[in-house]
Every structure is written in C-alpha cells, then in structure tokens.
C-alpha cells in the first residue's frame, strides 16, 4: 500500500543532505513551503543549490535560507532579497539568472522527459550571450560568467537552447494532499509548485490540509501523486481553504 504521509518533519527532511540541489515552490507569500525550509535550517543543511523563482521577500521560506547563508548557488528569476546581493558580490553564492518563463519551462521539461528546448526568450540579451556574471570573488571581481547559449534560427526567429533543470529534491506547498501524494492548490498558490515537483527526483509536499484518498476529485488534482514522494502536515495555521477546514 502506498502511504506517503509522514508525521515527523525533521526525520523526513533529513534525507536531504548538505550540498543538494533543491527546487522550491512559491511566489511572493503564496504557496511557500516555509515549514520545510525551516526544517533545512534546523537540520543545519548548507551549500544548497536552491532553484526558486524568488530569493524570498521576508525572512521565511527561501528568504530564511538566504539569511542564514545556506546557499552555494541560486537559480531563479528574481533574487530581489536585499540580503542576496551582498552575498553574491562577495563570492559567497553563485547566481544563475533565468527568465521566469524559461525557469518554469525548464523545471517542467525535467519532469516531462524533454531534455532541452528552443525558445526566443532571452535571445540576443546578456543572459544568452555569456555577458552576465555568475560568480564574484570576495573582493567583488567577476570570476565566472553564465555560459553562452546555443542559438538556432527557427522560422526566421533566433531561439536559444535551454536545458531541462532537474534537481535532487523539490519542496512544495499545497492546499490539500492525500496519502497518495495527490495535491490541489488554491488560486495563485499553485505557481511554481507543480513544475518544481515535476523536476525533483524526490519531492516533499507540505500540505495545509491532509485529506483522505478520493476526497480530491480526480479532475481537481493539480499534481498527481506520482510526482510526490512524501507528504507532511503544515503547521501553518492560516485558514486559506474555505471548502475544507484545516484538520
């Protein structure tokens, strides 16, 4: 029998070692697996490669990981956390800056067996031509640049080749989930949680409400359980699901 529910968050998260690559869902304050990020801090995990759209906008979620200096690399579109830039410019963290749509598509591609794809997004810009710094030394000098991307003209339009972005783990936050890992999300909280879960070789889902198998209508499952390996009950007590009260 499949039972992906786990009671002990720290024990569940202890499978993620320091140095791992971790895709983390969420956008702004919605759909952020904050409890799982907290667990990484409690477990003192370091040197993480975090893949996430934002680098956090407050000291929770990815923001806390940045604040505590637990990243060796950040891949995302919006590292707008004011704590991030000093870390970048002093060589403590590497940056792979990716357009937001390319990020979502690369994560989905990893989960979908698409090894690489051509998109016009970023063609001709510094992000494609190798003119964007990815790593600095402690004195703020550039020591590495993002790799130039392959270009192919398709139907008269220059397109860059983007590779699938698979990660060792993924952390996602859902509104509801069941023992099979099936998950459903409300409104803007779905965001990167689905592509992140697809990209992670092992995905942990922090569920606001845990429901019985079958409680989520088959047509309303946004993330089929096959993409999720573990489900834990969120300790976030916000009552955001008006249909199903928090258990």
């Amino acid at each position: 029998m499949i039972d992906k529910l786990r009671d002990d968050v720290l024990e569940t998260m202890s499978i993620i070692p320091s140095g791992a690559s971790v895709a983390i869902g969420g956008f702004g304050l919605t759909g952020v697996p904050a409890m799982l990020c907290d667990a990484l801090c409690q477990l003192d995990r370091r040197d993480l490669h975090v893949v996430s759209n934002n680098a956090g906008i407050d000291p929770t979620g990815v923001g806390r990981l940045v604040h505590e200096g637990r990243l060796r690399k950040f891949t995302g579109s919006f590292p707008s956390n004011p704590e991030f830039l000093p870390l970048l410019h002093s060589g403590q963290v590497e940056l792979e800056l990716v357009p937001q749509g390319t990020l979502a598509e690369r994560l989905r591609a990893a989960g979908a067996g698409v090894r690489a794809f051509y998109t016009p997004t970023s063609a001709g810009t510094d992000l494609a031509t190798g003119n964007y710094p990815s790593r600095y030394d402690r004195d703020g000098h550039v020591v590495e640049w993002m790799s130039p991307k392959d270009v192919r003209v398709i139907d008269g339009q220059a397109c860059v080749l983007e590779f699938a972005l698979a990660t060792d783990f993924a952390l996602v936050k859902s509104t509801r989930a069941d023992r099979l890992g099936n998950a459903a999300f409300r409104l803007a909280s779905r965001n990167f949680n689905v592509p992140a879960a697809m990209a992670g070789r092992v995905t942990v889902c922090e569920a606001q409400t845990i429901v019985d198998a079958g409680d989520i209508d088959p047509d309303s499952v946004h993330l089929p359980g096959i993409f999720v390996q573990y489900v834990v009950q969120s300790k976030d007590r916000r009552l955001a699901d008006p249909v199903v009260p928090v258990a």
Binding site: T30, A188, H222
Partner: protein, 218 residues
C-alpha cells in the same frame, strides 16, 4: 530640466491615456509600477482581462482588509482580488500563455527604448538583477507597450538611438507612452502620434536621443 509634474502628463494621466487604447475584450499583462495603474483607469465600456505571471487570468483590484485571501497575490506580491470567470494555473501554463503569443498587450516600464523597438528594463549596475518575466513577456506578446517618464531622474532621455543598458529584448516594443506623448516604433525613428497637452514638438525633439517624426500627429 525636470519633467515630472511640470510639463506633460502626470503618471495617472499617462495611465489614463494608455488605458483609452486598450480594446474591449483584450487580454493584458501589466508590469509592476505605472503600468499597473492602467487597471483602475479603464473606460467603463471595456471588459479587459488581466493576466498575472504568478498564475491567474482574471486579476482584480486590491481587496479591502477583510477581503484578503492569503492565496491570492499579484505579480507585485500584493494581495489582490479575482474577477468572476477567472482561471488559475501553474507557472508553466502561465508562461505558456505569455510565450505562446496569447496575450494581446503587455505593458512594461523601461529604462531605455530605441526606435527599432529594443528595450532595456531589467538591469542597472548596482541594483539587484531581477529579470522576472520581462524577457518572456516581450518576446511572446502581440503588442508590447512601454509606459514611462520621458527622462530619468537625472533628466537624461529614455528614448535613445541605441540602448546602452542590458537589453530585455530586441525589436519587441511596438508603442511608447511617455509623459510627453505617444510614440510608435518606426525602425530608425520614433513616430510621434500625439503630444501631451502643452508639450511642443521642439521640447520632444530636445528631450529625445533619437530622431522623431511628427507627420502622423493627430
């Protein structure tokens, strides 16, 4: 020379002017800042559908404190409402909508625009380099409008012959609304379609770093 509040449109007037040009039934993405003002300045006869990158088509206005839904924010990370008939989706489908060419209009702020439609709006030295969805929006959307002050804080023109700041996209902008007027992208020059009240062609010429034509002024 300082523009803001002295000659031309205010930012509210600029948003109101651009809102007039948004056709009924359009699907539109509004960038953070001045572009977002368009939503509250639409003529009452228009049904316009707003897309937000973080996964909703049918974005509404700001909620009152008791209307706040913790699962609903806009791309600017502010709490937001949805309208009746809205649809939510994940980021991959959200950007499929953007990159697949399904949006009619994207409205963005800018640091520099050239007459060929090149756009620079995401990276200035010393600031946190957030690219967000801008590169996706400018390559995917049918019409890309820029809404901005005509000059920057130091009085330097933002309509330039060639962008010197890092590009967001090449040949992507179709129209520019500045505090001084409305400009179409014409390849080697800006084609001025309209001047803000009280603004003279000479002022525009002086404050623009590329050729401007006024033959289509209405």
């Amino acid at each position: 020379m300082s523009i803001d509040g002295r000659i031309g449109w205010s930012r509210e007037e600029l948003a109101t002017r651009a809102a007039m040009d948004v056709p009924d039934g359009s699907y539109v993405n509004l960038g953070i800042g001045i572009p977002m003002l368009i939503a509250s300045h639409l003529p009452s006869d228009r049904e316009v559908w707003f897309h937000t990158e973080n996964g909703v088509l049918g974005l509404g206005g700001a909620p009152s404190p008791d209307e706040v839904d913790p699962d609903m924010q806009n791309a600017g990370k502010e709490y937001a409402k949805i309208v009746l008939g809205a649809a939510s989706f994940d980021s991959a489908l959200s950007f499929a909508i953007v990159r697949g060419g399904h949006l009619d209009i994207a409205v963005l702020g800018a640091m520099q625009v050239s007459p060929s439609g090149d756009l620079a709006n995401w990276s200035v030295p010393g600031r946190t380099p957030g690219v967000g969805g801008a590169m996706d929006l400018v390559t995917g959307t049918k019409q890309v409008w820029v809404l901005m002050d005509h000059t920057d804080r130091d009085g330097r023109t933002k309509l330039v012959d060639h962008c010197t700041l890092p590009l967001t996209g090449l040949r992507c902008v179709t129209r520019v609304y500045t505090t001084l007027g409305v400009f179409d992208i014409a390849g080697s020059y800006f084609d001025c379609r309209e001047l803000a009240p009280g603004v003279h062609t000479q002022t525009v010429t002086e404050l623009t770093g590329a050729d401007v034509a006024f033959g289509h002024l209405r």
